[in-house]
Amino acid sequence: MRSLLITLTLFSIIFISCDLYPQDDYKEYYVVESYLIAQDPLAPIYLSTTAPATSAYSFEDYAVSGANVRVHLLSDDGDSNIVQTFAYQLDSAGVYSSAFQHTVLPSRTYQLQITDLPNDPTASIIGYTTVPDTFSNVSEVPDTVIYQSENQIEIDITPSLNTQRQSYFIFTTIALNPSKENFTPLYSDFFDDQEDEVGDFVKTSSGIVNEANFETKPNGIVTLKYPWLAVAFYGDNQIVANIIDDNIYDFLRSQSVQLGGSTLSPGEIPNVLYRLDGGIGVFGSLAADTIQTYIERPSSIDFNQ
């Protein structure tokens, strides 16, 4: 009995003394942020580094200038040959803009290439994005709709054909007449005079919404019923439907998990899913279409009173 106990104790001590899973130390990474929008000019590229979690952070403090930044348009024949190269120049600390006028082409793949990084000249960052196909609204959007009335805003959009998968949407509502008085009841209640500014609510967006949530007609037209939840202000509002590429999809769905809300235990924080070689961040693309309508305050309900 005694020997059994001694053996078990020794066994335990050996295990306790070994750290089988040591904590890593902080490592600095280059961070890229850029979103190409189909049919828009080439978007700026933001280049910075990470900051230690215990330090104060601002983009300007960690911006990386002096790098050689280029974006290549690749051929669409499957060989990924470079068709055209766009050199970027430094606009301000860490912000690079294309020196050429180029409209981003839908359904085409762009390659990001960053070299001559100041702290490590031998390093490079490479990323690819395939721009979603454009789409457009083909329905008649009424000029005015009454908030929370039975007649919800419906948008019929043409299919985005360039992917092998369903489309992933993000919807954005941009208020054109934002004011405290124009808040819809829900947002009026959420608004905190001490901590918030009206401008914080001007642009509200959904999370990722899969295409399968919506009705697809035989001709491929997708009918979206726009939820009242997304409307923060009465008055003129722009509604933007965005279809995102795989890079933004991975970035967003994993970034949102870091601060909870998934099935992971609280405190279990995974890294974001990155699709870049040599750096982190996102080099992604999207296609978007915008409609505009006037959201009228209903006469029967007014939660502000």
Binding site: L8, P22, A53, L186, T204, E211, P227, R253, T263, Y274
Partner: protein, 752 residues
Amino acid sequence: MIKKILLVLALLTPISIFAQKASINGYVTDKSSRETLLSANVALLETNRGTTTNTLGYFSLTNLEPGTYTIACSYIGFELFRKTVTLSENETLRLDIELEPNVVATEEIVVTSERIIEAQKNIGTQDINTELITSLPKVFEADVFRSIQLLPGVKAASDFSSGLYVRGGSPDQTLILLDRNTVYNPSHFFGFFSTFNPDAIKDVRLYKGGYPAEYGGRLSSVLTIYNKDGNRNRTEGTATLGMLASRVSIEGPYKKGSWMFSARRSTLEPVLAALRSTSDNIPSSFYFLDYNGKVNFDATKNDKLSLAFYSGQDKVNFPFSDDAEFKLNYGNRTLSGNWTHIFNEKLFSNFVLTGSQYFNYPELELGGTPIERRNNIYDYSIKADLEYLPNEKHELAIGVWAGTLTIRLNDRFDNEPSFSSRSHSRYSSLYISDTWRPTEKWKIVSGLRSSYLSDGNYMRLEPRLSLEYKATDRIRLQTAYGRYNQYLTLITNEAFSGFDVWLTADDGVKPSFGDQYIIGAKTIPFEGFGFDVELYYRTMNDIFELDPFLQDVSGLDYPELFRIGNGDAYGAEFFFEKRAGNLTGFVGYTFAYTWKKFNDYNNGIDSPDGSGRRYPPKYDRRNDVNLVLSYKLSRKWKSTISFNYATGQAYTEVLGQYSANNTPWANDQLNTFTVGKINASRLPPYHRMDISFSRLGTFFGLGNAEWQFQIINVYSRRNVWFYNFDFDENPVERTEVPLLPLLPTISYTVNF
């Protein structure tokens, strides 16, 4: 199938008939209530023959030489039973034993019983004393699961969760059976309490690992809970007023049997009403309730029938804004009909029809946009178990379990269907096991279980084996191996179990499987004490869990919903127990490792795709010590202390940060962390002491009464649940989210 089994067993019967041996069989019951006692020890003192009662309180000793014997029976908390019996050739003596409760639990009586008849504790198995459940210091309400969390090998996710994490397994790896019926969501208040009313329960047993072929369907463990049958002697009841909930239980006899009914309901309404008068954002309605009932019909000496039901529900209505309301309605219902038939002294049978339903209806109305879920599980099954004793060396058990499982999940967003899934599967299992005692020192239990699920057409075989060697009268060495399969996975959140969804294996999603290896020793170092040691190693393969990175599952193929992984767990458990006297209690210590690994998860930041590094889940604790002591201060006063010290849970240390500020679709800054290995850091150690005092008295002469005063977290340790991050501060501020503070509670119980 049943007929064939009976035929085979009948053909074996003559072997013993020709031997002209005698036998004794019967039920063991509590004399005060005639409630059957499970796992009571029965022995013939002149021989080394002994057995324990089964899960229906039945025992049988066969192939006895004719002659005179002293039969003895013991059960913790009851006086030793002794009776001299004389058996003649071919006699089958039906002896129903009634044990007298130990009103005054003196050291001498219990110790005597232990010396004569050693408790038959099987490997990986732990009985939970139902008295302990009510006497432990409780967080508002006596709780079965929180009592189980004190046992070695069982961990809690947090003070707010009653979920059972057994030997590295998540809660869905424990099969929970109430009167042989599967319970799918055993929680109230979103996981804070378990659903089982302690007043309605008579037996709780946890098979922590290496569990027998009789059970299956989960990788880790099995928890069996049996409701009381009801007092067969007199009508009696108990009522308890608590700060969070109150409960009442009543039971009694009728001409052909007994009945029991108990109900429990939370009593938060006055508190909520008071809070509503002073602050906003208080639920307009928030309660849980549950009912347990059982009716027993003793048809003949050899036939017993029972019908048991459970119904529990949690409901909350929470208008948290001018134009937003959250509603949740979830619960379980179970119904089981049981028929126990004794064919003869060698063949015992039990047949059960079960129905188990789980429903979960969360609704959110947000700014004129309704978001709804309708989630249902319907599980209907039939079970048959036969126990056959061909001779004194073998105990055969064979059984079948077959049923249908329907899982329905419908989501609606803005009055339109957004996700719809309905699986209707058939499942079945068949097991056979043999308990073989080749000599007095050896016990070998071998078994084989096969299981089948129609979704995906999966069929699996599960061998089980356990060996026991009685080295001395006080030391039994045990080892076990088993293969286990699991066809279900639970989508839940450790912090909130109100939205639980179960999903099954299917085409493209293989069932999980694992092996368990256990070695241990059960010892009696001194009279009245027990000391158990177990070492275990177990694997978890093809675990399928909902992919945590999915924000919207609409339109995805079923296999795309999951991430597939593996894991293993190993450790050592020590359990030292003092079973009798004025001071009783136990100290349990667990040293354990748990690892999990998923594809494309916990890779280096530079290479997100790959097989993934293994990591400890949050609930992994290296060291875990629990001390529970109960002391009878006087005839009226009793005190119970529980203390837990555990290594801090695993968490992910954030190392770096940046912010994506330029998204075209939103104003928000996407604050982003960089981390190293997932869960490579540890929270501060957890420790907490709770204490309770109870005072016995009378209720105006009408019955016994008991006051219970409790203090949870006596020295107000601020244990950390997890860290939260405030991005409004620069640098980002890390704040601790604490667990339970110091919490005094009081309850009053009347027995009538």
